[in-house]
């Protein structure tokens, strides 16, 4: 599957970024997600950001889920 965790991008320094989740901070490579900006959430797999998460999509899918669950 490969283990990947959503984390917040705090700082960008060339091809590296400092990311934080639950008070844990680490440096990762953003070489395969060059579009990433500070404040984005990324999925981190083996020390690399592999995709930039979409906050809008996340909210929208949660909204749909809530509707789905309530429509009984």
């Amino acid at each position: 599957m490969c283990l990947a965790v959503p984390t917040l991008v705090k700082k960008i320094d060339g091809q590296e970024a400092e990311v934080e989740t639950g008070g844990v901070t680490r440096r990762i490579s953003i070489v395969i997600t060059p579009e990433v900006k500070v404040g984005d959430y990324v999925l981190v797999h083996t020390g690399y950001a592999i995709t930039v998460m979409s906050g809008d999509e996340a909210r929208e899918s949660l909204r749909q889920l809530t509707e789905l669950a309530e429509f009984m």
Binding site: V31, G47, A69
Partner: protein, 365 residues
Amino acid sequence: MNFLDQYRNPEMVRRLADRIHQRSTRPVRLMEFCGGHTVAIMKNGIRQLVPPQVQLLSGPGCPVCVTATADLNKAIGLARLPEVIVVTFGDLLKVPGSDTSLEKVRAEGGDVRVVYSVQDALGIAQKDPEKSVVFIGIGFETTAPTIAASILEAERRGMSNYYVLSLHKLCPPVMKALLDSKEVRLDGIICPGHVSTIIGSRPYEFISRDYGIACVVSGFEPLDILQCIEMLVKQIESGQPKVENAYPRAVRPEGNKEALKIMESVFEVSNANWRGLGEVADSGLRLKDEYRAFDAEEAFEISQRSVSDPEGCICGEILRGIKTPLDCKLFGKGCLPDHPVGPCMVSSEGSCAAYFQYGATSHER
């Protein structure tokens, strides 16, 4: 925006499970391709939440488990070379090859190092220029771009002691091989979420179009997986299979173009050996000619003798979804996480290990 808590909300999970119970009117067979999904399903007891007629099968989606014994022997052979440091992800350490494992070779004095990231392998190579550092490149499309990036980085730094043994595998081609074998009948596929962050959701379109099988890309939280199952059941009940994305916060239809570009600049598609499935056309990645200098297979003499899988072990059939760990005579007896016979008991993502660690109720165990 705390993603994880919301996707683990027990009340939402319960409601969604009820919804699936309402929607589901007939037996369906769904395959979770990805080992990460197998673990999430077992760990959260999702089989206990869905109706019994929704059958969940595990597929060949654990990168460690699908690594052929012959390929493991190559990694083990490299670790025995005195001038070589073998660097690997922890998952591979205990997997038995024909006669030993990387863990045992390390105990005998072989230099085998476990890292969290391939970047650490570059660091090891830079620190010890007298040694040759070989990274064992396992994984699917999720991991392959990171390994490709490490090779580009090694080239940029002018390093001549860094090599990769590329055992990478590709998902859509093996899905096709599995379906063409007609051994397993499926109604729907829970498509791998993190592979799809890279390749997107489009590469699965041939599955719904040519095979009439529902496909939904899923994340790994309990709510993600239930939402995916709900969408699959709905598609199957309506008789209109297509590709849908239940993980839009991470997966775009086109995938991650930069990752694909990096992967394709370093690797080219090749045939690959899969445990249980044998050679599958165009399902692997090898280094392109211009990067051959980084190819461990070129740089070192590695034995290519053919090997058979361990006797009694049915990992191959389990990986093809035609048997479950419970069908194996060795499960929980001769084969345990401490003394694994086959790779499915080693990797925490392997079906056997997941069944053993998390299998909670008698109907699961």
